[in-house]
């Protein structure tokens, strides 16, 4: 069967599994929407009052019946109503998604445009000073938690330049591209830093592997210039693991860069899910997780397709 069709057929099954898992797990955590809203004051409620609130939050029914109601809605594109926002879950998610998408793309761009050249540089100057510098940097990048880097950037900007990126709200790219990118450039650097480090390391080692291959020696012996050997002959093959890594990483980024969004106070998908969990906004948690899972699947499918483009030897679905 066609590979793409095969993958598309498994989509609904995976999403069904995700929906059950998230539906059950969010309800297994102690505490509910009532304690989330009232805190310890929830203890002052009479049982009648508690029943009123349970009905309001839709948690008065048995869990299977809650699931069926929710699941039935999915087929009409209805992910339920967020109790925090008082609006349909899907519209809340779509409001928060552009920020996360832009942030993910920007940090991916930063990570790849810094990581690949640095990796290639290090590989071609194997064991020389510049290679060591790059490797130390990469090590540092991978081991610095994003909250440390983010706070350092904010601190540095506020102390040295007396400015901080706009926080709390978000200017969409379509409204004011410059303001939008300006707001996201530092969060994207924070987010992309560790990823750039991974890209550097992976492209360095992949490049070293490829440079040792027979066909590279053949290219050299045929008189190809050093530059053309690296960029034309070696790089495309060295990029395959980078593409794999990027696909997985991009999926995670779309799931919301929770920590970076939290530090820079960006109202994106990551913070949306985090707040939905702390506020036990069940419908919003379920909808967002499903949305993220869907994105993850789509991105990974695209990555598989890019493989084929990069390396015609790979024929998906055929052995």
């Amino acid at each position: 069967m066609n590979y793409v069709a095969q993958r598309l057929l498994t989509f609904p099954l995976i999403l069904l599994g995700v929906s059950v898992l998230v539906f059950v797990s969010i309800r297994l955590i102690p505490g509910d929407a009532i304690t989330a809203m009232l805190g310890t004051e929830a203890g002052l409620l009479t049982s009648e009052q508690r029943a009123v609130l349970a009905r309001y939050f839709g948690i008065d029914q048995p869990i299977w019946s809650q699931y069926l109601t929710w699941f039935g809605g999915l087929f009409q594109g209805d992910l339920g109503i967020s109790v925090t926002f008082g609006r349909p879950v899907l519209s809340v998610i779509l409001d928060h998604f552009p920020l996360t998408l832009e942030l993910a793309l920007l940090s991916m761009l930063i990570a790849l445009s810094a990581g690949v050249p640095l990796g290639v540089l290090a590989a071609t100057r194997n064991e020389r000073t510049s290679d060591l510098v790059v490797r130390v940097l990469a090590m540092l990048g991978q081991s610095t938690p994003s909250f440390v880097l983010g706070l350092l950037i904010i601190y540095f900007l506020s102390v040295v330049f007396g400015v901080v990126p706009t926080m709390g709200t978000f200017t969409p790219l379509t409204v004011d591209p410059l303001a939008s990118l300006g707001q996201l450039v530092f969060p994207a650097i924070t987010l992309g830093f560790a990823f750039a480090a991974s890209v550097t390391r992976i492209s360095r080692s992949a490049m070293l592997d490829v440079l040792g291959d027979d066909y590279i020696r053949t290219a050299r012996s045929k008189g190809a210039s050093a530059r053309s050997v690296v960029w034309t002959h070696a790089l495309p093959n060295a990029l395959i693991p980078v593409v794999t890594l990027s696909g997985v990483e991009f999926g995670y980024l779309l799931g919301g860069a929770v920590i970076v969004e939290q530090i820079f106070a960006l109202p994106g998908l990551g913070r949306l899910v985090l707040n939905a969990i702390t506020q036990r906004d069940y419908a919003l948690v379920q909808g967002s997780v499903l949305f993220v899972a869907f994105n993850f699947l789509v991105v990974n499918l695209l990555v598989d397709l890019i493989y084929v483009a990069l390396d015609p030897r790979i024929r998906l679905g055929k052995r």
């Binding site: 102690p30 505490g31 509910d32 805190g39 009052q49 706009t166 300006g182 450039v185 939290q262």
Partner: protein, 506 residues
């Protein structure tokens, strides 16, 4: 093209940074106050909301009949004056005839009646209802007079009315069922928009009976990390902010352009013992724990000294010198002796629960207590929990000990009746009551003479600390930080930000 040389790469990075800095150059100065807080409001229903930020937001939009000033005195809000009858069974309010909702409609006694009836209706599901159960009926002889008939004398009810949970909302909105979706109040500001966990936009209410506000509006941004709030203040991009973490608060005075406002709050930090569990059911064990704790050290270490050692009564009008309370001077020898008498000379192991970040000092408090109690052989295992999980365990009384920060009230009765009276709603949490405590609470509730009430509640406090169901530790500060260009903010021990109606910006 040799674009992989380190020099070119660095140049590229520098260019990217410069572009970024240009793009984030200061946005145009917005009219009004730019405010920030880490925790957003959780809803707009003044009767039902209990979260700190929700109350602070709604206090700017709605008004109760009376409010508390910065000395915790009851002062007029919608009501101009009020009077208890001689038998304490009738409470009459005269409303300010100029009080208007932001749509221009006058606030009448019918709105007062409708609001309290909504609050008392179980179908509303307002937790604050429990403070108003003595209200038997409400009469409205004319548009500006509201008469509350009480089923029993209830002196603290006036203070209970001075919270936004007893806000007066328009009777028409109550009938339409739009409270909580639309915020239509008689307060200094009106809410133009709310994006949960992101931003609130308020503008001055032209119909406010209190006159013109000092700023045209307030924009509140939610910045979940308080270090980022500090950076934003430092950069002059935020005018005014709420700060929870004492560690962040102590950094504010280092900045030349910033001012820290702090006021001793009513909330208290406490180590709750659970007398329903062995061996905390033994009075001597509880007393031993109380004697083994060095409260000043907990304060100095966990709260970086930001606060005061306190007994159960945190409000200035009732507060006494904590040095006179049971074992407030650490006495390890006495603690060990008490443990021995109770038959626990070798100590015991217990679990203490605490919530992550709520308050920010919870985990350090637990650690200091752990080391202090080790001296008498009590081995504490610390269990940190997500706030909701903690609340769930706390409400179920499912803990050996709990590090908590509990809210305070300007009056001891509403503050402690839930825990230490026989009908208290949270008896399951405290697991402790005796005839003395219950009797003193009932006396304090019906007594109207302030001096007699003070004496009653001090007796209550003495007895409570001696029975040691909980070990009261300290009361912290409630902080706000602001640019020095913001003038005229008066902090309030309740945490209220109502005074923002008076601030101006230079």
């Amino acid at each position: 093209m040799h674009w992989t040389t380190p020099r070119h790469l660095l140049a590229g990075l520098a260019l990217a940074t410069t572009l970024g800095s240009l793009a984030i150059a200061l946005p145009a100065q917005a009219a009004g106050l730019r405010m920030a807080w880490a925790q957003d409001a959780t809803g707009l229903d003044p009767h039902k909301q209990t979260a700190f930020s929700s109350l602070r937001l709604l206090e700017l939009v709605y008004e109760p009949l009376v409010r508390l000033n910065s000395d915790l005195q009851v002062v007029p809000a919608i009501a101009d004056s009020w009077e208890f009858s001689a038998d304490g069974l009738t409470l009459t309010f005269k409303l300010n005839p100029n009080a208007k909702f932001s749509d221009g409609a006058q606030v009448t006694s019918a709105d007062v009646k409708a609001s309290f009836e909504r609050l008392l209706d179980e179908a509303t599901a307002a937790a604050a209802r429990s403070n108003f159960l003595s209200i038997a009926s409400i009469d409205t002889p004319d548009a500006t007079t509201a008469v509350f008939t009480l089923s029993q004398p209830d002196a603290p009810i006036l203070v209970a009315m001075a919270t936004i949970n007893a806000a007066i909302a328009p009777a028409a909105e109550i009938a339409a069922g739009t409270i909580g979706t639309k915020a239509l109040g008689s307060g200094p500001f009106q809410l133009d928009s709310w994006t949960p966990n992101s931003q609130e936009v308020l503008s001055a209410n032209p119909n406010w009976a209190g006159g013109k506000t000092g700023v045209d509006g307030i924009t509140i941004s939610v910045l979940p990390d308080e270090t980022a709030i500090l950076a934003s203040l430092r950069a002059g991009q935020t005018d005014f902010a709420l700060i929870n973490d004492p560690l962040v608060a102590t950094l504010v005075p280092n900045e030349a352009n910033l001012q820290l406002n702090r006021v001793t709050g009513l909330a208290y930090n406490v180590l709750q013992l659970n007398p329903a569990r062995k061996p905390m059911d033994e009075l001597k064990v509880r007393q031993a724990i109380s004697c083994a704790v060095n409260r000043q050290e907990v304060l100095d270490t966990a709260l970086v000294g930001e606060g005061q050692v306190t007994g159960p009564l945190t409000m200035p009008a009732f507060r006494s010198d904590p040095a006179g309370l049971f074992c407030y001077q650490q006495d390890v020898a006495r603690a060990k002796a008490l443990m021995q008498e109770a038959g626990y000379a070798d100590g015991f192991t217990a679990t203490v629960i605490a919530a992550n970040g709520e308050p920010p000092v919870a985990s350090s408090e637990a650690q200091v207590l752990q080391s202090q109690l080790a001296a008498i052989g009590v081995k504490l295992e610390i269990k940190m929990m997500e706030l909701n999980v903690y609340v769930d365990a706390w409400l179920a009384g499912d803990f050996d000990m709990a590090v908590a920060q509990n809210g305070g009230r300007p009056d001891p009765y509403p503050m402690y009746n839930r825990y230490f009276t026989k009908t208290g709603n949270l008896l399951k949490v405290s697991n402790y009551v005796d005839d003395t405590l219950d009797g003193l609470m009932q006396q304090g509730r019906s007594e109207t003479d302030p001096d007699k009430r003070k004496a009653i509640f001090q007796q209550f406090e003495q007895h409570l600390t001696e029975m040691a169901p909980w070990v009261w530790l300290s009361t912290g500060y409630s902080y706000t930080a602001q640019l020095k260009t913001v003038q005229g903010f008066q902090p309030n021990p309740t945490g209220s930000l109502f005074a923002l109606s008076q601030v101006t910006i230079d």
